[in-house]
């Protein structure tokens, strides 16, 4: 990589950006962009990259091709994937063996190889180009889109796409108050979940008395199922850092912290490298570019605590203490880190700032709805065909995201619910598929926007099990201070667990609701206050399912082990013995070509047989035995 030198002044940086941009725009070589974030690597992208390097060399194409290794492209289902520019041919699900063919046929001979193209799960048609793929069409990838164009470990790459032009604009053309007004006018709201107006937070921090102020980037993306921030930190760390530098200018902060989860080693690495490069080029430190502006950035790692995503707990963690939230007021904007005014924003919030400064508040506020401006990145996961990170304008409906972008539910199963907002959010049923995504409408429906996790569930997902899952998560992650949260989540979990095991009794649901409300009302911090949401929303929309567990001892989705047993459907069984081989306790009987039988004295209900069967001949049915003893007569 090129040796980096210090930028002497504003003009110096401006010139370099111009040079980099020009080089990029005049690029005539073919560019192969390979997606290689954490997931990509887990799927083998590094081996594909090695194979590409070898093949390019072998075909003598080294001087005609640029290989750009980027962070996450966002279309996770398709990984390992690559895009060939300038045509934007999109190849997906690649193995190292595919590479030679691609280099020979497409790069060298200009022919598209059909079998590597994306195929729509419903229409079965192939798409050649990135912009033909349904997954991308309704998205508006103003933040994530740039992941494709940069090597996250290269500052020069970032400059080549116009990086740091917003910072220069903020530095030379705006007064700090004007930056804040721009952010206020844009309508940007915190992307971490609560949706507090960012400009207002900045203003409050700036206005707090005192010379020493801090800004913090909250990269403690703890919501299970959400990884948008990981993707931005891994794939475009400079964008986030630039946002923070603009924030520091506006608020008057000299020091900033980036708090990244311990579970994101690659993100930590890329952010560390990025900060390092900024220091080496003089874009961080004292008297940046020869101006009065000095700014230091430190990286702080999390250590495995979901509650540290809460502002005051995060501050405690940076201070080296236990991550216990504290009472607010005083708010961090008044007394935060080391009791100084502190502004904490989420990764995605910071990443939007350079765009707002560069393109203007009107541009940003023209996207989205009246109350929720701009775009939001969601991690669309679970029972969905096109798993990945989707960035959509606020106001788009759930239906559009799940069906048009997500390609619907796999294996032809029926949609049952979509969970948003992580453990602080709720499950929304099919009747709400036309709900537009914005802060207020999601809250009114019993969920929240949250940080962006969007988990799709199908008919084989049990909502009692989902409620139990979230309560188990919360009782473990609660800091434990407030009895309402600590005991509330524990007792709610116990009740739901009993229900899932067929031990539910009349009165349980009423007790659950009463306890949920008390937990919500009495707890001090956001974790406890929203801990009741998963329970309350599943009760609101799926009460019959809970009632079936309690009164009929039946799990309609076939998930709760105590209420089901696995049964072989004789008409569908082909006698292939796959389930027999998979069974860890030799509980399946039957010879080849003969209908198999599951023996219940040995069956431990592990589910391996259902997984192994390719003919859908094994089903989870209601466990008949329980009915006789425990059926409650109403």
């Amino acid at each position: 990589m090129k040796r980096l030198r210090k930028f002497k002044n504003v003009e110096d940086l401006r010139k370099t950006i111009q040079q980099q941009e020009a080089t990029r725009q005049q690029e005539t070589k073919k560019v192969i962009t390979v997606s290689s974030g954490t997931c990509g690597q887990a799927r083998g992208s590094q081996k594909v990259i090695e194979a590409l390097k070898k093949a390019i060399k072998a075909e003598g194409l080294k001087d005609q091709v640029i290989l750009r290794i980027t962070g996450c492209h966002g279309f996770c289902e398709a990984e390992p994937n690559l895009i060939i520019y300038p045509d934007r041919i999109f190849y997906q699900k690649l193995t190292p063996e595919d590479v030679r063919t691609i280099v020979q046929e497409t790069i060298k001979d200009g022919r598209v190889v059909e079998k590597y193209l994306y195929r729509d799960p419903r229409t079965k048609e192939r798409a050649w180009y990135e912009n033909e793929i349904q997954f991308y069409q309704k998205q508006k990838r103003i933040v994530l889109g740039d992941n494709v164009f940069v090597d996250p470990t290269s500052l020069l790459d970032y400059l080549a796409i116009g990086g740091f032009k917003p910072f220069l604009k903020a530095l030379t053309e705006f007064h700090p108050e004007e930056i804040i007004q721009t952010v206020k006018k844009s309508g940007l709201r915190g992307r971490g979940g609560a949706g507090f107006p960012t400009g207002v937070k900045w203003e409050a921090t700036r206005r707090s008395p005192g010379d020493i102020k801090y800004i913090i980037c909250n990269g403690d993306e703890g919501d299970p199922g959400a990884y948008m921030d990981r993707s931005v930190l891994e794939g475009n760390p400079f964008r986030v850092l630039e946002g923070m530098m603009i924030g520091a200018l506006a608020i008057g902060a000299r020091e900033g912290f980036i708090y990244v989860r311990d579970e994101y080693p690659l993100a930590v690495r890329h952010v560390t490298q990025a900060v390092d490069q900024l220091y080496r080029t003089g874009l961080l430190g004292k008297n940046i570019l020869g101006t009065e502006f000095s700014f230091d950035l430190h990286i702080s790692k999390g250590a495995g605590a979901f509650v540290c995503g809460e502002e005051t707990a995060l501050i405690a963690s940076i201070e080296g203490r236990v991550g216990e939230p504290r009472q607010r007021p005083p708010f961090p904007a008044q007394k935060g880190l080391w009791k100084k005014p502190t502004c904490i924003n989420n990764v995605e919030t910071w990443a939007n700032i350079p765009l707002i400064i560069q393109n203007g508040a009107e541009w940003f506020s023209s996207i989205g709805t009246a109350g929720s401006k701009g775009t939001k990145i969601f991690s669309l996961v679970g029972k969905i065909n096109n798993t990945g990170l989707v960035e959509v304008p606020m106001g788009i409906t759930l239906r559009e995201i799940i069906y048009d972008i997500g390609g619907g539910i796999p294996e032809g199963k029926a949609f049952k619910a979509v969970q948003t907002g992580g453990p602080s959010g709720g499950c929304l049923p099919a009747s709400l598929l036309d709900l537009p995504i914005d802060y207020e409408s999601l809250t009114a429906a019993g969920s929240i926007m949250g940080s962006g996790g969007m988990i799709v569930m199908d008919e084989k997902t049990c909502m009692v099990d989902v409620a139990m899952y979230f309560l188990n998560f919360l009782r473990d992650e609660s800091c434990g201070k407030c009895i309402s949260c600590r005991e509330g989540t524990q007792r709610m979990w116990e009740i739901v667990k009993d229900i899932s095991e067929g031990k539910g009794k009349p009165g349980d649901l009423e007790l659950l609701e009463e306890l949920a409300l008390a937990t919500k009302d009495a707890s001090m911090c956001g974790l406890g206050q929203t801990a009741a949401n998963p329970v309350l929303s599943t009760l609101r929309y799926f009460r019959e399912e809970f009632e079936a567990h309690i009164y009929e001892k039946r799990c309609p989705a076939g998930v709760c082990k105590s209420l089901i047993r696995y049964v072989v459907i004789p008409e569908k069984c082909t006698g292939c013995e796959a389930c027999k081989r998979a069974c860890p306790t030799q509980a399946i009987q039957g010879t080849r070509k003969d209908v198999h039988l599951i023996l219940y004295d040995k069956c431990i209900k592990c589910g391996a047989c259902l997984e192994a069967c390719r003919f859908e001949a094994i089903e989870a049915q209601r466990d008949e035995a329980i009915i006789i003893d425990k059926e409650v007569r109403l």
Binding site: C39, A42, S379, V381, K383, G388, M457, C479
Partner: protein, 157 residues
């Protein structure tokens, strides 16, 4: 991995020095100590309390609060099953059960012979490739109940 390893005190001091004896860097210090010893030995914690002039109980509070830390020695190999929502919906609990069965361990435990530790994590952020299992830093995508023995086999040399 011996359980009663004598703690190299010099190493502890080196780490604390690296962070300038700064109390606020406690978490980073503990992370570095764990990176060296694969867990937080009691002796190390006592040393840190002395160097940083923090009451030992406060160090213990921090060390037990954060899941990244282990006060018990971990196995040579660590298998971590992701229990995030997306992985859960795709069957992670059954996969954890399979690991428990095959390793004869409950989650959070280490085997008697010190070879294996089985842990869970709330979410790794790799939801698209779930269910995810990480063994010794290697990410395994789309795990199924039947893949578990193959995965374990790779490390059981």
């Amino acid at each position: 991995m011996s359980t009663s390893q004598t703690v190299n005190l010099e190493k502890i001091q080196e780490i604390v020095e690296r962070y300038g004896y700064d109390k606020s860097k406690l978490i980073s210090i503990l992370q570095d100590i764990q990176a060296v010893f694969h867990y937080l030995p009691a002796q190390a914690l006592k040393q840190v309390a002395g160097y940083l002039k923090i009451p030992l109980i406060d160090i213990i509070s921090v060390a037990t609060f954060y899941r990244a830390f282990s006060l018990k020695p971990r196995g040579e190999h660590v298998a971590t099953v992701c229990m995030g929502t997306a992985c859960h919906v795709r069957g992670a609990p059954r996969i954890l059960e399979e690991f428990e069965r095959q390793l004869n361990l409950k989650k959070g435990e280490t085997s008697e012979d010190g070879k294996w530790s089985l842990e869970t994590v709330a979410c790794l952020g790799c939801c698209a490739i779930g269910p995810v299992v990480v063994v010794d830093g290697d990410y395994h995508a789309h795990t199924t109940i039947r893949k578990v023995s193959n995965i374990l086999h790779k490390y059981q040399k």
